[in-house]
Symmetry: C2
Subunit: 159 residues, 2 copies
DNA sequence: TATTGTTATACTCTATAACTATA
DNA sequence: TATAGTTATAGAGTATAACAATA
């Protein structure tokens, strides 16, 4: 009776157990988000952007004229990191800084036409990527999932 | 009629809009997971571990004797990065390498008693952290959320 | 004094490539 | 030849601290 190749408790992939780790929502979130973000990264990379820069561009687009500190808070970066993000967006011609007329310390941020076009194309592409990942869920389930996630976010981090 | 301080479209926090970004599940996942992982990081740090090392220790505990490449795949790291993770776990006395008796290239990984004790304490603490974050959800909702996330993971990344 | 944006810098995390020892 | 583990190294990504301009 030959013992194939698996004399140890966990020698092949199927055997891997999560133990108590499987009890954590945080673990499940990270697992899915890791995969999603690596696919996102591939797509945004086609336009020369990193995922964080895409998010920043999207926030600027949705909030024309916002300042860099506001952008920083929204994307969860330090303001110094945001400087480089905006530098890069300007270098690509996707966004621009204008001096705020009311507070000359501030830069008011705006997207360019080119930035809007690229953003639109990326949104479409990313929606496709996400749809492929979420095939397991019917539209109703998807709404439910979003509602649950929003409730967590609002209660725990905004409430 | 004084115009307080907000002459621009998005000058104070409440005004910030997500635009199409709000359509993406990936965005919601990342937002929550960012917060959770920074709180996790604080807690695991009390024991001298980074979140990735905690996960690795948990996986070793649940799969005694597994090899470093198996661990790598499970935690989503390159095998070279795993070397350093295991080095650190050994340094803390939380885990140990033993030569695999069946394949002398392999290291069979095991937790120590000390490692198990610390792991248990961390699990308890992290469960508390997570419970605080998830107060918005009733137990039923929580189960639902986990089920949805598992379905996504299995279908998209394992199926 | 406090805030906005900036620079310089350092640190963490992770991947790549080249190596060794085994298989 | 291929795989497990290791080392050295380099590249992201991000934070901290100090600074200039402005409020």
């Amino acid at each position: 009776m030959p013992i194939k190749d698996a004399p140890l408790a966990a020698s092949n992939d199927e055997d891997i157990s999560l133990g108590r780790l499987g009890e954590f929502v945080g673990f499940r979130l990270r697992r899915i988000q890791n995969h999603l973000s690596s696919e996102f990264s591939t797509e945004t990379g086609r336009y020369g952007l990193r995922p964080g820069e895409f998010s920043a561009l999207a926030i600027i687009s949705a909030n024309p004229g916002l300042s860099q500190v506001m952008l920083s808070r929204e994307v969860g970066l330090d303001k110094s990191a945001t400087v480089m993000v905006v530098d890069d967006l300007e270098k690509h011609g996707f966004a621009e800084r204008r001096r705020s007329p009311v507070d000359r310390r501030r830069h008011a941020l705006y997207t360019t036409e080119k930035g809007e076009a690229v953003l639109s194309a990326m949104f479409d592409k990313l929606a496709t990527v996400e749809r492929d990942v979420l095939t397991a869920l019917e539209p109703d389930d998807l709404h439910l999932l979003n509602a649950l996630l929003d409730r967590i976010y609002k209660t725990a981090f905004r409430g």
